[in-house]
């Protein structure tokens, strides 16, 4: 790791003002991607702003048909939250399947979504549930937030404060883990919210998380796994690497989508 100047603001306002004033800066949430990257000297921000001690970024509240999760809430907290389990059990389950216990106790939802790793789990839930990303500057609908691999709609000086998830009628997440990293090779989040079906896919797309429109249309007619039988996910839009080629990932997308639908109950 190279030398860096470490800042630890105690409020979002302070963090935002540091972010606006400092040069060559990175926000540090749970650090589960950034710290290893810095240790490998692949990232070398001159300034590091640690969001980990900001109380207003933490916590989970349920009210008026929404679940609001602070950006600094860890995966373990989401996984074990009675409120999340009651309102959106699929989200709690997804959080419990991220990484390993160490990662889940340090990694945060805000960090994961802001990083937008194409194989991360959370982006599929944010997109699949049609959540709203509330930042220091605005509210961004999930459909406008994700902008390709490791890319989001966030401005340089913008910090995610919380996520507002509408409580769906039903939702389920099915993931096929990469055998080595255990990130998703294909993770499909299916949700029915306000009568609308959304199918969000992570891990497989060469452009990051995406909505599978054909599947949404098919499931709008009949919410059964068999409704997807006639579909083929577009292999030309899939990642290909030593763990699996695009055709395999396209297959996984369909298989995981069917399993998610089956799990909807």
């Amino acid at each position: 790791m190279y030398q860096t100047t470490y800042h630890r603001p105690s409020s979002v306002t302070e963090a935002a003002s540091l972010l606006a004033s400092a040069e060559d800066v990175k926000l540090l949430a749970g650090g589960q991607t950034l710290i290893p990257t810095m240790k490998q000297r692949l990232a070398a921000p001159a300034n590091l702003i640690d969001l980990g001690k900001i109380a207003e970024l933490k916590g989970i509240t349920v009210s008026g048909g929404t679940v609001t999760i602070g950006a600094g809430t860890t995966h373990a907290e989401v996984n074990t939250s009675a409120d999340v389990k009651a309102a959106i059990p699929a989200l709690a389950k997804l959080a419990g399947g991220i990484g390993d216990p160490h990662v889940r106790h340090l990694g945060t939802i805000g960090g994961s979504v802001a990083n937008n790793d194409p194989a991360a789990d959370y982006p599929s839930a944010v997109l699949g549930l049609g959540a709203t990303v509330v930042t220091t500057k605005r509210e961004i609908p999930a459909d406008d937030f994700f902008a390709g691999m490791f890319t989001t709609a966030l401005d340089e000086d913008e910090i995610i404060v919380r996520f507002v998830f509408p409580v769906p009628e039903k939702a389920a997440y099915a993931k096929f883990a990469n055998p080595a990293s255990r990130y998703a090779m294909a993770g499909v989040f299916v949700a029915v919210t306000g009568g609308t079906v959304r199918v969000a896919v992570t891990g497989a797309g060469s452009d990051g998380v995406f909505r599978w429109a054909d599947a949404e249309a098919a499931l709008a007619g009949t919410m059964t796994p068999a409704a997807l039988d006639g579909l083929t996910a577009d292999a030309s839009a899939m990642l290909s690497d030593i763990h699996g080629d695009a055709a395999y990932r396209a297959n996984l997308v369909k298989v995981m989508a069917k399993r998610a639908v089956a799990a909807l109950g």
Partner: protein, 782 residues
């Protein structure tokens, strides 16, 4: 069997310090005035070094020295060696290219070391390493052994045209080909034995220290064989005379073969300490460095075939292999694909004619050497995949085809050098069949099918040659060293015992197992026995631990030394009790006069030996004996493994639902430790079969599996709860009847897994690692 003697499940003595963080590993050792070394490594798979500018690095804070290959050459430090000479079929010696500890004019794999930066702190060394400017002229690279001999392939070493190191044969080619020509059935397979990264938990580490006042060197290093390291570093590389070099391998956290070898890094640290005037130089590998520089294992491309008579009797086996040696020949790299591989191609079977040809080639990859099993997994994979395929091709039950061809009488001379001394191959098979409930398999398969899963069963009846090795025999086959072992039993005046052994424990549990032998023989409690190893200043000599040799060879040396101690103790006891020496028996820690109630506790005899007030006339004082043991033959652990899998046809994911391992290891000292060895070996073998595979970009030669994000190590939830059992035929070749257990799991399991999957999916064309993506493709190609 006593509570702590041979056969007892004694809890490992060494684990208390390991699991409480008190193990003392090389990186834990802090010598006064230590400096820290960081290597500048090649980012290219193949390139000429045009220039190296060290000025900026030398000017960086805390930097003491920046050393290059030119400095090394200037000091006339020799290159690293390969210690086993192989001759090609035309009689020519293998063509070993130079292997300097720091590359001089050319780099040949990503990670090749180009300079050593030494600074006051590791962080300073690392910062400065980035300031070393190396100008390269990149060259085309070849990483695939199947293409290394292509006419247009880049050439790695001038001494080895077409990158061919040797073209070795074993067996009777004419007889083998004739048998194939007349065979009723011929079964053929193309096999890739995948390249593996060893991944010991403790990364490699070294501290070199030169004391100018004594002109003496100390090397602390993560080695499986410190005496061999000393021999090579002194006699061949020429850093120090042997008597001026002490090598210490303290606690070592796993080796799996990768810590046998004498590597560039410890060589450079040792040399560098003198260059900087006698301050210790410490280097500890990072995990990313380990992926790039720890010797890899396997990487064979093979065409194999088996000839059978109409009734399924085996007639002949032939294999043609290209073995990837990597960019340089590592210490034992030539032995692994030849005499540790070709000699095992008879498996457990009567095969009248066998022929194998192995071409070893250079490529722009990390050097390849022995990794848990070393050659024997490759042979077992060939034999057991051929046999299983033959059973399918002939419509025979795979268990019965094996049974039909098993060797049943011993000693058995194979057509490929080895003489098997003992075994009960049918006993292993029968026990495994019962444990797996083979009769119930059809019902289980049908039940799985109803759940949409494809269930398959696969066998592997492996044999290996361990107890490495009779010195004269290996000498005649090209080994540069003898492979005996030494031990010393030092009885203290109070009757406690220190065992100094040339074996080296890096996870095997020697401190427990070896102490159990002493307990059995001398009746001394475990708390009064100390096992000393891993220090050339303490232990007289040793050949180290690899090839499952510590029990069969290392403990045999201890037995010989204990025999001498016992004989002397009996003489003293007889003298003290005024009895005939022939009437003295040792039992439960006492020396007794048979048929009387006269007895002396062992510690009193020990004390008498050291007070020397009343010893038999002419006897030397003391009770300390050493011994060297040279094996009379290899040992032959063998067993049958049966793997049962369920494949998800939608995703290709394989679940191992049952795994039975029945091994014949001969005498077992500590069943708990042996089971642990089997479990670990199975996990590594299953890792090879399903998950692990080093991957290089074929064009650039860049390592694609450079971290655990991409190199898939088996985790606890990837392996089932194993059913492990034993059949015991004692090895007639050593005093305890031991055969060795360290590698069996890794040797026997890969073909069992692949045989099970190919049975499940009905497609025999599946290479390791059988990842979900590959299995899915094979399911849908079937």
């Amino acid at each position: 069997m006593g509570l702590e003697g041979i056969g007892a499940r004694v809890v490992r003595k060494e684990d208390k310090r390991f699991i409480t963080g008190r193990g003392k590993y090389t990186d834990d050792i802090v010598l006064k005035d230590t400096t820290h070394g960081v290597f500048v490594r090649s980012p290219h798979a193949h390139a000429k070094i045009l220039s190296i500018d060290t000025a900026a690095a030398l000017a960086a804070p805390g930097v003491i020295a920046v050393l290059t290959g030119a400095d090394l050459a200037g000091d006339r430090i020799g290159g690293l060696i390969c210690g086993w000479m192989i001759h090609s079929r035309d009689g020519s010696p293998m063509k070993a290219g130079a292997h300097p500890a720091i590359a001089h004019d050319r780099v040949r794999h990503v990670g090749d070391q180009v300079a050593l930066v030494i600074a006051e702190t590791k962080a300073e060394a690392r910062d400065a390493a980035e300031l070393v400017e190396v100008e390269y002229e990149t060259l085309p690279a070849v990483v695939d052994p199947a293409h290394a001999m292509d006419a247009d392939a880049p050439q790695l070493h001038d001494v080895a045209p077409n990158n061919l190191i040797f073209d070795w044969v074993l067996g009777d080619e004419a007889a083998t080909d004739a048998a194939f020509a007349n065979a009723a059935h011929v079964v053929e397979l193309d096999i890739i034995n995948n390249r593996l990264s060893p991944n010991p938990m403790e990364p490699r580490s070294a501290i070199g220290y030169y004391d100018p006042s004594e002109e003496h060197y100390d090397l602390y290093t993560t080695s499986q064989n410190p005496h061999v390291a000393r021999l090579v570093l002194s006699a061949f590389i020429g850093i120090a005379p042997e008597h001026k070099l002490r090598v210490v391998a303290p606690d070592v956290g796993g080796g799996f073969g990768a810590k046998i070898y004498i590597y560039p890094e410890e060589t450079a640290c040792l040399w560098a300490s003198k260059r900087i005037g006698g301050r210790p130089v410490k280097w500890t590998s990072e995990r990313a460095e380990a992926f790039l520089t720890d010797c890899h294992g396997r990487d064979h491309v093979t065409k194999a075939k088996l000839a059978l008579a109409a009734d399924g009797t085996f007639l002949a086996l032939r294999s043609d292999t290209i073995a990837n040696i990597g960019a340089y020949m590592s210490t034992f790299s030539s032995a692994t694909p030849t005499y540790l591989h070709g000699t095992l191609l008879s498996g457990q079977y009567v095969i009248p004619a066998i022929f194998t040809n192995v071409k070893a080639v250079y490529t722009n990859t990390t050097p390849v050497d022995a990794y848990r099993g070393a050659g024997r997994p490759e042979a077992t994979f060939i034999v057991e995949r051929l046999v299983e395929t033959a059973a399918r091709q002939l419509g025979m039950d795979p268990a019965e085809l094996r049974r039909k061809n098993f060797i049943r009488s011993f000693p058995y001379q194979t057509p490929v050098i080895l003489t098997y001394d003992a075994g009960d191959f049918e006993g292993n098979l029968d026990k495994a069949l019962a444990a797996v409930d083979y009769a119930g398999f059809a019902a289980r398969k049908a039940e799985a099918k109803a759940r949409g899963k494809l269930r398959g069963i696969g066998f592997s009846s492996y044999i290996e040659a361990c107890g490495i090795a009779p010195s004269q025999a290996v000498g005649s086959l090209g080994s540069g060293v003898g492979l005996w072992e030494s031990a010393e039993v030092r009885v203290n005046p109070v009757g406690s015992v220190e065992i100094l052994t040339g074996s080296h424990s890096h996870g095997q549990g020697h401190e427990t197992t070896f102490a159990q032998l002493v307990n059995e023989r001398l009746g001394i409690g475990m708390e009064n026995i100390q096992i000393v190893h891993g220090d050339t200043d303490k232990v007289q000599f040793g050949m180290g631990t690899y090839g499952s040799r510590s029990g069969a060879v290392g403990m045999s040396a201890i037995v010989k030394a204990l025999d001498k101690v016992e004989a002397k103790a009996k003489k003293i006891a007889a003298h003290l009790m005024e009895a005939s020496e022939a009437d003295i028996v040792m039992e439960g820690g006492e020396l007794k006069v048979a048929g009387t109630d006269k007895k002396l506790p062992f510690f009193q005899v020990a004390l008498a030996a050291y007070t020397a007030h009343n010893l038999p006339a002419g006897m030397e004082p003391g009770l300390k004996e050493g011994a060297f043991y040279d094996p009379t033959n290899f040992t032959y652990p063998a067993g049958t493994y049966i793997c049962e899998v369920e494949v998800d046809p939608d995703t290709g994911k394989v679940e191992i639902v049952q795994f039975v391992a029945v091994d014949d290891f001969g005498r077992i000292i500590n069943p708990m430790i042996v089971e642990g060895q089997v479990h670990g070996g199975l996990a590594q073998g299953i890792g090879q079969a399903l998950m692990e595979g080093v991957s290089y970009d074929p064009q650039s030669g860049q390592l694609l599996t450079g971290s655990y994000m991409d190199y898939c190590m088996p985790r606890a939830d990837d392996v089932p709860s194993f059913k492990v059992d034993h059949v015991t035929t004692l090895c007639p070749g050593n005093p305890l009847g031991m055969k060795g257990c360290g590698e069996a799991g890794a040797i026997g399991s890969p073909p069992a897994v692949i045989n099970a999957i190919t049975d499940a999916i009905g497609n025999n064309n599946l290479s390791m690692p059988a990842t979900p993506a590959k299995v899915w493709a094979a399911v849908h190609a079937a």
